[in-house]
Symmetry: D2
């Protein structure tokens, strides 16, 4: 399922994406404070060192951290580092890495292969992974299962429960695979799960995390976190030759520092999730219940075309999705559209209430 | 569906693969005749020039030809040349390029993406292609539909009819895609279709053909044929840097020359097809009808485990296939196995008759 | 010649690099002003559109512009777009793309080859290019001359004069090559040359410019400018799959917008150049004349080890360079060191005056 | 120095290249003998197993062997396996891998970088390697010294002595580099050195050898030999996805088997070397001494244009070389040409004697 058309204008009631939101004021303030004097470039500055320590504390173990400016870079660099070129990366058939990164993992991974798996709410079904792994894999003719990549939270706004991850990881580990987590919306998932960062990642078998900050409120800042620093050998070179080593690195680091300080990242995610919950509940009351559980900050609902028209005219912004790849049970009537609504820390209750009122007609 | 285990010993009744067959005597003789005196290397010899002319005559138009030693090289070089790195190559989900080349197309294509499509008998269903093309494609977020790759004959031993190709090509052309044909068993398909080489390729919209000779009787010789020579600019460099420019090139060329001379390639394919037909008919009479139409030189049948045991003990050689990816309607009983039987020019009627007698018990 | 060790501490008298400087206040202010409300991501926002128009006006023709966060990304994406994988990119043997990008051009260019040429002051000597082009090039055995890449200003702080560029371009064009300019310090060069942006680029034969802003005062912003927009087809996909499409793109664009507005970029460069001139003149008076003409914001001088010790103790920061690759005529005495001093818009006269006083002893 | 033009016709007195020679009759016979019955493909046949054992015996240790059809494939696959993408491969500036493989090592190595070093007779000077290694290398900004690649014998027809290799290897090992030997003409070197295969390779520190057979008399057969089989993990997959796994593999293996049997390979090389010696001695007597020591089967001589004209008219075939990259001390007069003469097992004394007579005029 992929974004097809953007309806509406850029104004209030903007549910297009969490990357349409501005930068959290605390992060912008931190950027301004950082802007004094000189600092050696390329990550050898004090702010970057502090951020590295922050991550180790956050995850309760020594980790290796590589900051980059985009989530696509974080994912592609991580996967290329975990898989040989002849490796297979198992992911959901509609994972961001499979459908929305224009082949970045394949490019960085010298032609590694993504194997798309089915599963409701864009969560890989354990049975689907197990079944796929029973096919013929391995060299020299077939690519070798190398990495399981889980998106947490998923692009459907659902969240893998700890035991779901554990079972998927067990199947992967049994085949010698490593585990990557695309955490562009990791904070949103964490808020819902009530787990510590460690419990939600390496304690349940995740080897490398793409830790997202941009969608959560930063300007352009993501981190690749290796829970086993030994596995990160060469990653510094990989990042550089990918063009992803920022020269004035302190301004990248300080975004993450502010994001992780004073629980800002969790507070911002909580706000976004809360707004999604509110929107979901309200939409249900007007006959538009979300088609998947709302567990993060994305909502997928089916609305009638006339409602869509009203919302557009009122200036609401959101994406109409391709509904053809939905399972039969969720088939969308011709008079209806599947739309995606994304909330963020910047979404207000007024946005939601107005949206629902207009939808209600 | 992929090969799982090889049963039996290497002896007569060898149905393992057409690449388990020896070299056609005519081709070996040609190699011996070629082995006199000196000849300039890297394809600048007279034999290579003659082969290039042969292909132009065969296809009734000027073509650009690049000889290589393997089918994987032919396919991967061709696809890399037709698709940008951010392109999508649409193929059957179980096409050789997708499942049995260890990611060669992705490697040569700098991370291009193969999109696997369903279809009975490993032929892409027209509806599946049309549906897939309606999803969101194109830059910058999604890869761009670039190539349709058809396998003719397929690995299931089926053959695309001309009108099937025409419809698939029409759908692809409508999206600006080019068309590649993996013709590892092109001769086998041609024999069945009763078409000229031109009719079976560029006249129905094929842009580039991987023309196979190895499975048909050569030692190690394939050709990439560009029906529009202008499209081949740079292909010579691509082949060289892929390590696929043979230095004593005349010995590669002479295999093809002999293969194409005196209708040898068609005669060898006819023999292989004929043997497959005979085997299919005979097996049907003993209650083991092929699960797909036998249109080339491959037969897929479901046999009882006890029959399999008998055949193995008698020294028959063939592959037991993974039956899990078969459609529900073809589900294989637990007491049974799905086996693949491949005939070649070297298969004898005695091989077949003995095989069927043993199977019959 | 490459950076070997960083001497001194991070304090005033920081001449380590122009990327050790902070962000120009005007650009930080612009970031803050941009941070209101929602804006569609990935470059589809209004600020980005305005920047695209700014570039077309600046260069007096329609151009295609792609913003990225690093200079390495700008260079590598540009070169990969201009050269086939079997192409040769001719550059100075010590150009940034050849020595300081960890192989990024080769990675993005699927293994293209950089051919390093000699020349004083890190400017390619015309004769060196002409001589190199007379060797055997071209397929299938040899890579094909594809791109000439000029660094303007060079990492030695020198500037190609218009006629020098014209002669190099003529030699390249005669072989069908395209011309890339690495303009990480383009503004510094322009200030020195007294040419319009158009005169310094496409009017003298440059096809694609990596336009730098970061070293000039931005936080992390560079632009790849195609003077022939038709040549940019596919570049959007290339950028995305390189992980270089920033999601909250308006914050990348606004840096450039502020940089280009009110002549800020020229003023910042003029300041940096002026500081370099002052430093050069003053150092000459104390017996340390620069070894190359000071035409941008970098100065290379040979100083005695005792002076170096004094400067370090006083807290000056700069790099000691590898002097072994210097030409014989510039051989450095054992008691001396070759040091690189970089000025920026943030350098003050006080920095310089104090530095020279300490050097003088 | 690269080949510029091929003079003469294809007839006797063919000194164009050892790959212009035919196949040794013993090898062609072996191919014919192999052509009986069926054999499982892709290297799982008995002939291949025997060849693997042959190599282990030859080198007096367990080795891992991968057969391919071209020397470019052998080199590129080996280097890609030994170096990370951000690695530097140090080789002679005019090594085959650097100048004649159209970027194959860079392509297979995902953009690794070849660093060309000087040295007389195309042998890397130890001092040149030591000096180069003292420059700034290593991540994240610079590529990391990863592999030293020695060509044995060189394209100049010279041979590294054991102690020369030892000193180069020592310098490389001190930087953690691995050592590759391009042995396209390994047999020729071995004949000259009077060493065992083990002494000439792993005992002196070579990690991986590209073992050539094609130039020595095979049709199309080379072997990548890993002296530490543990280092070969994944190589099978790398070969397959490179399109270099031959399906009817027995016909590749049997060429090597025959080549290594009954000392054929050594005898063929001895013949070629002997012919080169004879040609060198005879040419010296007519005033055309080779410019480099003749230690293998290649001779470089400077001849007057009028002699060249006579030789061409008489039908001699050889390459005129680019003499511009020769060191000053070897500068070629305008009336003269630098030509390369290559002998092979198929060269006859009559060829040589006639050639010299004509040259003498």
């Amino acid at each position: 399922m992929t974004v097809k058309t953007l309806s509406g204008h850029n104004c209030c009631m903007n549910f297009a994406s969490d990357n349409a939101a501005p930068v959290a004021p605390e992060i912008l303030d931190a950027l301004a404070r950082e802007n004094t004097g000189f600092a050696i470039g390329y990550g050898n500055d004090g702010t970057t060192s502090r951020v590295e320590r922050q991550f180790s504390e956050l995850f309760e173990r020594d980790v290796a951290v590589f900051l980059v400016a985009t989530g696509t870079a974080a994912n592609a660099l991580a996967l290329a580092h975990l898989s040989p070129p002849w490796g297979a990366v198992f992911c959901h058939a509609e994972a961001h890495i499979a459908t929305d990164e224009c082949g970045a993992p394949e490019f960085f991974g010298s032609g590694l292969k993504l194997v798309g798996l089915p599963g409701a709410g864009r969560k890989i079904a354990v049975s689907a992974l197990e079944e796929a792994l029973q096919r013929a894999w391995g060299g020299p003719h077939h690519v070798t299962p190398a990495v399981l990549s889980l998106t947490q939270a998923t692009e459907a706004g659902t969240v893998y429960q700890r035991d779901e991850i554990a079972r998927l990881v067990a199947a992967a580990r049994a085949r010698g695979m490593l585990v990557h987590m695309d955490g562009a919306r990791f904070a949103n998932a964490l808020e819902r799960l009530g787990l510590t960062p460690a419990e939600a990642t390496w304690r349940v078998g995740v080897d490398v995390l793409s830790f997202g900050a941009t969608k959560g409120g930063a300007m352009a800042a993501e981190a690749v976190v290796f829970f086993d620093p030994g596995r990160a050998a060469g990653m510094s070179e990989r990042r550089k030759r990918g063009g992803h080593l920022i020269s004035k690195h302190r301004f990248l680091a300080v975004q993450i520092e502010a994001f992780l300080s004073d629980n800002l990242w969790r507070n911002l995610a909580r706000r976004a999730n809360h707004m999604a919950d509110r929107l979901a509940v309200r939409l249900a009351t007007v006959g538009c219940p979300p088609i998947w559980p709302v567990e993060a900050n994305l909502i997928f609902v089916v609305i009638r075309r006339e409602i869509h028209k009203r919302l557009q005219e009122a200036g609401a912004t959101y994406y109409v999705m391709d509904s053809e790849s939905l399972p039969q049970t969720l088939a969308v009537d011709r008079d209806c559209l599947l739309v995606r609504l994304v909330t963020s820390f910047a979404t207000t209750e007024a946005d939601i209430d107005r949206f629902v009122v207009i939808a209600q007609g």
